[in-house]
């Protein structure tokens, strides 16, 4: 037994069973005073003689070396190559040498049965034990029976040698798997300190790396030697270690690696043309908030045929960077490569569908998404389609997606909420109450659609929780539609579009990206557009600018009545209380002349007639004869198609709005599919009109809901802010009301000042009563 082996035994014994450590016989090494004459052990030379008789010089030499190490004073006998006296024993050694351990066992037992005085040579038994223990230890290790591995190593420490480095590795692994990593480290240290085979040393490091921490690995690296050419033997591992560190940190973003590691890997990534390193860089950077840099590496990995993971990373990075539209085709292409790719695809489309405001999506995006959603019965997908349809004014479509989602998952509250909103929007009171009935116990915000008390409570709670950041696009989409967040009184000058969210401009609408601490006026200057507005009619005949006739007259304690009809037409503006504050508004509506021109070129007679009917409808609208305009638009809806029908439906809706017939306007809007942007505008108008109607009917909570709904589509202008403030006033939320009044009065709005004094008188009255 060598000193080195003894060193490991001590650590093994100490780790496994301290008592055993004491039982392990310490080595008799060179220089040990135990190897003196009066204590000379009997040297077993049977193996030696067997190997000699076989002419197996390799084993013979090994055996001589072994015996010399054990017994320093021993020298090989001179008659090694003489005839063997014990033929049976020779046969046993032969079978041992051939690895037939069961045969040796069997032969020993047979001989002992025949001759009870015969004892097998201790050396043969020891070697047999070791050989069987090695096999048993390997079996136990393969079966992950770690305690057995450690027990065997402790019982038969002779197996722990550099010649059986595999056994040492397995013992180390057993330590690591039984929460004794320091002991595992000891075992690897033992190998690297004592064993010399270059391949095995390298393999030892490779075995150790997955089981140890970076610090422990660094300690092992200190045991590195140099090869014959003076090259450090573990050089090839250094880059692997960088990859390992980055891999770990890519999975756990709380870890990061030194810049030098990133630089080195970037160099490696450029040197070779494999996708692995770029891919690793991509994931590391992506998870460490460097999506832009990550994107380039993902791209390179994808170009190098890096497969599904590259595509996934590329898609996620694009999506993260707000480039979901670019990501979608790639995501679609790879969607079936792996579950993660399918997920990435669904996420990308969901983020497109739930973008705020909804982008104009190519038909193909929706056309290929729907089947995937249907195939997977993917509830969040159906829900997202529901929100998209809802946000683009396609309420009926929206309804069917929410219903589909609910069919798949009857407990999906967001879908139920979406469905409730569609009922609410379509004025379908019966079905709305039915859904409130079944969801009442589970969803406050659904109840809040019909119950002012619940609504007030949600509102109060929301005011406390302040800013919510939604990372899940679906939650965010639902939250945008949740009345409560937007019920927070708008901060001065900032349109009520949802607490703490940035407003991403819709295509072609020049909203500022981020409503900073600007005033409402500066918004107005940038295109902040009040909802009630004029048409950019064909000949812009006397089209007045930003107008409103909605004028609250505060009458403390009594119902407030708008003084004039709320109509989108400027001509009858009798009292432009706010007009002076509102900046001239740039045209937001699509140029109708262009629109009709496009559709009017139809050569087909029916189509031509339909186009003419649309033009006639607009003309009648200009003349403020909306009811007549409606029949013209009707004709165009019936006989026109595509753009013509769409324009006609739009015109018809506006005509109804002009007449204050909101429900009819809503219905008309659905008569032909509207493009998303126009749907948005139309929806806004409808909601503003509806808010006014609710207000007039004394249904203030519903008025606020409608205003919230509208505010989601675009910033709120002063007239609607006044409507909102008065609504708050009537539900006795004086604080919210006053905040708005105050903000508006600071901009010189006299009606707002009236509002403030109305609030003041009511609250003083309240205070006085104490």
């Amino acid at each position: 037994m060598s000193l080195k082996r003894a060193a490991l035994l001590i650590l093994l014994g100490g780790a496994v069973l301290p008592a055993i450590a004491q039982q392990i016989e310490l080595p008799v090494g060179p220089g040990s005073n135990r190897a003196n004459d009066n204590n000379r052990p009997k040297v077993d030379e049977t193996a030696l003689r067997y190997f000699a008789s076989q002419g197996d010089t390799r084993r013979l030499e090994a055996e001589i070396a072994r015996l010399r190490a054990l017994y320093p004073d021993w020298s090989p006998p001179g008659d090694l190559f003489g005839p063997q006296s014990d033929v049976e024993l020779e046969r046993m050694w032969k079978m041992y040498a051939e690895g037939k351990y069961s045969d040796v066992r069997s032969a020993i037992a047979a001989r002992q049965a025949a001759d009870s005085s015969w004892e097998p040579p201790a050396d043969l038994i020891a070697r047999l034990n070791e050989a069987e223990t090695r096999q048993r230890l390997i079996n136990a290790s393969d079966a992950e029976q770690w305690a057995t591995v450690l027990r065997l190593a402790t019982d038969t420490p002779g197996v722990l040698t550099c010649t059986n480095v595999d056994i040492l590795w397995r013992v180390a692994e057993a330590f690591a798997k039984t929460n004794q990593v320091p002991r595992a480290l000891d075992a690897y240290t033992y190998v690297l300190t004592n064993c010399t085979d270059a391949n095995e040393r390298l393999a030892t490091m490779q075995k150790a790396i997955p089981l140890l921490t970076d610090d422990q690995i660094a300690n092992l690296m200190k045991l590195e030697r140099q090869d014959a050419e003076g090259k450090p033997e573990f050089d090839v591992l250094r880059d692997d270690l960088i990859r390992r560190r980055m891999g770990v940190a890519a999975e756990n973003p709380e870890y990061s690696v030194p810049d030098a590691d990133i630089k080195r890997l970037e160099t490696l990534a450029k040197q070779n043309d494999a996708p692995g390193d770029p891919l690793l860089l991509g994931w590391y950077l992506f998870r460490h908030d460097e999506a832009q840099r990550a994107l380039e590496w993902f791209k390179l990995a994808l170009d190098r045929k890096g497969g599904p993971k590259s595509a996934e990373g590329y898609v996620l990075a694009l999506n993260f960077l707000g480039r979901a539209l670019e990501a979608e085709p790639i995501a679609f292409e790879w969607r079936d490569a792996a579950p993660e790719n399918n997920k990435a695809y669904l996420d990308v489309v969901i983020s497109l569908l739930t973008a705020d405001p909804p982008p104009v999506l190519d038909e193909i995006v929706l056309a290929r998404f729907s089947p995937v959603v249907m195939r997977d019965k993917y509830v969040p997908g159906a829900q997202a389609l529901g929100w998209y349809a809802y946000n683009t004014g396609q309420i009926v479509t929206s309804q069917s997606w929410f219903e589909t989602a609910l069919n798949w998952d009857p407990n999906d509250e967001p879908s139920a909420y979406g469905l409730s909103l569609t009922f609410w929007r379509l004025g379908d009171g019966a079905r709305l109450s039915a859904i409130v009935q079944s969801w009442g116990a589970r969803s406050e915000r659904i109840v809040a659609l019909v119950d002012p008390v619940v609504r007030a409570r949600l509102e109060a709670r929301n005011a406390q929780t302040a800013i919510n950041r939604y990372t899940d696009p679906l939650v965010a989409a639902a939250a945008r539609l949740t009345p409560t967040p937007t019920l927070r009184p708008p901060p001065v000058g900032v349109p009520t579009i949802g607490a703490g969210r940035t407003y991403v401009p819709g295509a072609g609408v020049a909203y500022p990206t981020t409503p900073s601490a600007t005033t409402a006026m500066s918004y107005a200057g940038q295109g902040f557009q009040p909802i009630p507005q004029q048409f950019q009619g064909v000949p812009a005949q006397g089209a007045a600018v930003g107008t409103t006739q909605f004028q609250p007259i505060p009458q403390a304690g009594t119902a407030y009545q708008p003084s004039a009809q709320f109509t989108p037409v400027a001509a009858v503006a009798a009292d432009q209380t706010y007009a002076t504050q509102a900046a001239p508004t740039p045209p937001r509506r699509r140029n109708l002349a262009q629109s009709t021109a496009r559709s009017g070129n139809a050569s087909e007679s029916a189509g031509g007639a339909a186009s003419a009917a649309v033009a006639r409808g607009w003309k009648l609208m200009e003349l403020n004869r909306p009811m007549e305009a409606i029949s013209s638009f009707d004709y165009a809806i019936q006989y026109g198609s595509g753009r013509v029908a769409e324009d006609a439906a739009y015109g018809k809706s506006l005509a109804y709005i002009r007449k204050g017939m909101t429900n009819q306007a809503q219905a008309a809007a659905l008569e032909a599919p509207q493009n998303p942007r126009r749907s948005l505008q139309l929806t806004g108008d409808l909601l503003a009109q509806r808010a006014l109607e609710f207000y007039r009917d004394g249904r203030y909570v519903e008025a606020i809901i409608a205003l919230d709904e509208r505010a989601r589509l675009g910033p709120e202008q002063q007239d609607l802010m006044m409507l909102r403030a008065w609504s708050y006033y009537h539900i006795h939320d004086y604080q919210s009301a006053n905040r708005i009044f105050k903000a508006l009065s600071q901009q010189g709005n006299k009606e707002a000042m009236n509002g403030m004094s109305a609030v003041d008188s009511v609250t003083r009255k309240t205070r006085d009563s104490y």
Partner: protein, 328 residues
């Protein structure tokens, strides 16, 4: 102790079912090996007085199967898989047989290492596989997957794993476990597990603490190759209880002319008649024990068939030779 298995028969068995490494090969099951087969091999080697091959089979058993952390043997070894142990779970009959054979051999041959090994296994069985379930002391078939914690219809039991002759030996090796209680609960379960029109014990039963014993879900509802052995095990253990043997007697001797059969429990109908000598020997031994009927001539010489009936034949032979020489 004089050998109770003729050396020629044992040598033929060795040649057919035990390879050089000491592996007992189940020739009817794709040549796999299992702890039960190793235990049978060791017991038969002992009964044949073959120390040399006992050591051979034990060497394989120890090296290849006795690797579990809890000291029990892994039950399944497949020559065509790497690693060879394809299910590291234990099987209690295998562990009982191995420990029992070691203890008897160690005592008989005066070899203490066998007794030491037997004791370790016996203690592990007592610790891991003998559990109290409700008011009943049971022998779980394996270390995992059968208890009332593992299955809602648990415990799932196999009454042929109660090798009654081993319990007194286990009691000496591992007195901390109530082996008498294990034996008694086995007898009691045999009395209540006489199910179906044939009133035979199914191979696998569900035996919840406070509910009737039923055929276990997910197992064939048969009195089959497992339960066949129960009659022999009772006789080998010297449990002379005519009532316990009655259903075997009726099925094998009264209704099937001495030939055991696989019987469908729900219908009581015979599924397969088992005509190999090893199975017929079970009927012959029962007839011998109950009515001193001589062993038929054609069963007086060992005829190699498959591993399992051959094993049952030699175990039966050893019993007759030892306890019922009048039947020969």
């Amino acid at each position: 102790m004089a050998a109770t298995i003729p050396i020629d028969a044992w040598n033929a068995y060795m040649k057919a079912f035990v390879d050089e490494s000491g592996r007992v090969v189940d020739t009817a099951n794709g040549g796999i090996s299992h702890s039960e087969g190793q235990g049978y091999g060791m017991l038969l080697a002992f009964l044949a007085g073959d120390r040399s091959n006992f050591e051979r089979i034990w060497s394989f058993t120890r090296t290849e199967l006795l690797i579990r952390d809890d000291g029990l043997a892994a039950w399944r070894w497949d020559p065509n898989s790497k690693p060879h142990v394809t299910d590291v779970n234990a099987a209690s009959d295998g562990d009982l047989l191995i420990a029992y054979a070691l203890a008897r051999a160690g005592r008989s041959w005066g070899f203490q290492p066998y007794i030491d090994s037997a004791q370790k296994i016996a203690r592990a069985i007592g610790r891991k596989l003998v559990v109290r379930d409700g008011g009943r002391l049971i022998l779980l078939p394996g270390a995992t997957g059968f208890s009332s914690k593992d299955r809602p219809d648990g415990p799932i039991l196999n009454l042929s794993y109660w090798i009654f002759e081993t319990f007194p030996v286990m009691k000496q090796l591992a007195p901390e476990t109530d082996w008498d209680g294990v034996s008694q609960s086995g007898i009691e379960l045999l009395r209540i597990a006489q199910l179906g029109p044939a009133r035979l014990p199914p191979d696998w039963i569900s035996a919840p603490a406070n509910a009737p014993v039923t055929v276990a879900d997910g197992f064939p509802p048969v009195f089959g190759y497992n339960s066949l052995r129960i009659s022999l095990y009772l006789l080998r253990a010297g449990i002379a209880d005519a009532e316990l043997q009655e259903s075997f007697r009726r099925s094998w001797l009264a209704e099937n002319g001495g030939t055991p059969a696989v019987v469908d429990i729900p219908s009581g109908r015979v599924v397969t008649r088992l005509t190999e000598p090893g199975y017929r020997m079970l009927g012959a031994v029962l007839a011998c024990a109950l009515a001193a009927t001589p062993i038929p001539d054609d069963l007086r010489r060992f005829e190699l068939t498959l591993y399992y009936p051959s094993t049952l034949f030699l175990l039966s032979w050893a019993l007759v030779a030892e306890k019922y020489p009048r039947c020969l």
